[in-house]
Symmetry: C2
Subunit: 403 residues, 2 copies
């Protein structure tokens, strides 16, 4: 078997944990498996490096920041290899340049374009355990680029795809994927199996956040993903294309990193909305929920949400282009949060949305926006009320038997 | 003018010092110079990284250690670029892979083989200040290799050579090169000019240690080197091919990292000595002083010095090969130190060696080995006596007027 094993920062945060990971790797290697390991930077290294860069320059050039940040993964890859050596097994660390992981040019938020697997295959052929730096790629200019937060998951799945791996294991600090965050919701339960689309709709389930691109890639190449703890031997959660067996609802997720912007009185002219979101897209600002309502006198109002760190940039960009878009004014708010319910049963069972809104209503909570898809319902509410809302919805939908 | 400016770790040890370096760089950039900067890792980063690796594995594989260590220079290059940006000037950092600094394969102690300057020239063409990581190269396998201690000086000189730079400035934490270590010898004076050969004979003069390879390269390509402080605007010391103007003696240097090994009763057969040192050379063990004395009954005794960290390895290797070399026994000692006097006047002025030995004799110090060249006299004495010996020799030779 060829296994790709990805260890997150919390699973490598100190020397003991690095040896713990090394032992898990070796245990599988001894069973005659070929092993490719993908590592994140240790613990909070990436955040610490960002702070260190910001002490020098509050807005460091993204190119320089990327080259600075990739040292975190290079270091943890080397240390993991050294630990495996110490335990008496062969290992070699490869960074993105050595592993020929090629990415798009954009700094800070690149994507993997291609992987030339010759070196990796060559090292596997020599019976080496191959430790590869996650989160990084090399662009056209031979510069290091990073893949955005959680990008190491994407590195692992991309490698699993190119190497035709039998399994891609994502090691983290919790037992698997939960129906909700167990720190907030007592009744949260571990999910044994979930399919790609459901996971995509709910990138964050429980406390595990899987980068959406990693799940998209896993779906595209049909890579079985297992999310499990590096601190015990529990079985974890499987993400695959299996039909779901149990509940119609997979889970309830909270996202507090949300800001909402309303563009009021936008000119009602074909293409205006396209131009608005094209502008945001060019700046790599991801828009999440979008609601368009009819305004007055040939105008319309558009509300949308972005991650909070993009609020200022988005507002400034809209203000700069007021003459182009000819809107009346902007309203924006950082004190909102998003609550989502995901499950394949949603489209076929109107009872689910009813039970969700009932739970919210019983709490006396006001809903600001609603967005639905085949397998997801998301609502935007006041941040202060998100935890009581999540508990109520989880209790109503997942702690009672429905469907 | 094209300037190469190299900043050592002590000149970049914290954010203030990084900005201090950035200002010096910008000052020259504003005078319409093209600037290539070579940086070491910040402060004691390299030592700290070595300790961190050794916590995982006391003898980390050299390949992994090299890849681990180069992150120190990558980080300081990025931070320096970010500081220059903050001050409003354009800069770009390049690591060995981006700058195409190609080295020999051997890990831990590589040499620069070739530099492809296209990318660097391209960035200079775009009016960027180019910040390049010192101490590192890429080998045939696309692995990072390090150039040995002090290797950043070599990186700087090699870049100055390939770019045909007008000057290569080595910034450090002292004003320049001194006739002796001012912490030990009160009468030590700054040297204004010294030529390559003298500097080569005395890689360490004062407290400045210039990597010998960097001086060899500077000599080969006739690169003017200036060693100066990054903490003030004093003029520093110039290393070039100028004829010396002042004293016949340049300085007195102490080397405590010395161990002496004597091979007693070595078979007196042609090629034996060659084979002995060929064996050490293959293991990358540098031998410094060598003395061969005639033994008895067709045997000879050979004494030589190595850096202390190589003593055990050297002794073990000799013991393992006792049947091949057919010597009688070994004597070795770690408690010795080397005192050297360097100056172009030595060969032409017998008074100098006389005055050196006189000073040592007056201190009642026993000399264990003597080695001389055209421009250097080195003696090996007990480590405990090295400071009093150095003071006495410096006083007799450099604080009186001779020549």
């Amino acid at each position: 078997m060829l296994l790709v094993k990805k260890f997150g920062g919390s699973s490598l945060a100190n020397n003991n944990l690095i040896f713990n990971a090394a032992k898990k790797i070796i245990a599988d290697y001894k069973k005659k498996n070929k092993i490719v390991v993908v590592v994140s930077a240790q613990g909070n290294t990436t955040d610490e490096l960002i702070l260190k860069a910001q002490e020098i320059n509050l807005s460091p050039a993204k190119r320089e920041l990327d080259m600075f940040l990739v040292t975190g993964e290079i270091q943890s890859a080397c240390l993991t290899a050294m630990a495996i050596h110490k335990l008496g097994y062969p290992a070699v660390s490869l960074n993105a340049f050595q592993a020929e992981i090629l990415g798009l040019n954009n700094y800070g938020n690149s994507r993997i374009k291609k992987i030339n697997p010759e070196r990796i295959l060559n090292e596997l052929e020599k019976n080496n355990i191959v430790i590869i730096t996650g989160f990084q790629a090399i662009n056209f200019y031979n510069d290091f680029v990073t893949l955005g937060r959680g990008g190491s998951d994407t590195s692992a799945v991309a490698l699993a795809a190119i190497l035709n791996a039998d399994l891609c294991e994502i090691y983290t600090d919790v037992d698997g994927i939960y129906t909700a965050d167990p720190r907030i919701i007592k009744g949260a339960k571990k999910i044994k199996k979930i399919n790609y689309d459901e996971m995509l709709e709910l990138a964050s389930l429980g406390t595990v956040v899987l980068h959406n691109r990693s799940v998209e890639l896993a779906k595209k190449y049909n890579i079985k993903l297992v999310v499990k703890s590096s601190f015990n031997d529990n079985s974890g959660s499987l993400i695959g294309d299996e039909k779901m067996e149990g509940s119609l609802i997979n889970g309830v997720a909270i996202d507090k990193n949300v800001a909402v912007i309303s563009v009021i009185g936008l000119e009602d002219e074909p293409g205006m909305v396209f131009k608005l979101f094209a502008l945001l897209s060019r700046k790599n600002i991801c828009v999440d929920l979008i609601i368009q309502s009819i305004g007055r006198q040939n105008t319309k109002d558009i509300s949308f949400t972005v991650a909070r760190e993009f609020l200022n940039e988005t507002v400034e960009m809209l203000k700069k282009n007021i003459d182009f878009f000819r809107y009346d004014h902007l309203i924006f708010d950082k004190t909102v949060a998003k609550l989502s319910v995901v499950g394949t049963g949603i489209a076929s069972n109107p009872k689910i949305s009813m039970m969700m809104f009932e739970a919210i209503y019983n709490q006396g909570i006001n809903i600001k926006m609603i967005s639905t898809s085949e397998i997801k319902i998301s609502i935007l509410i006041d941040e202060k009320e998100i935890e009581s809302a999540a508990n109520a919805v989880h209790k109503n939908l997942l702690e009672n038997e429905i469907g």
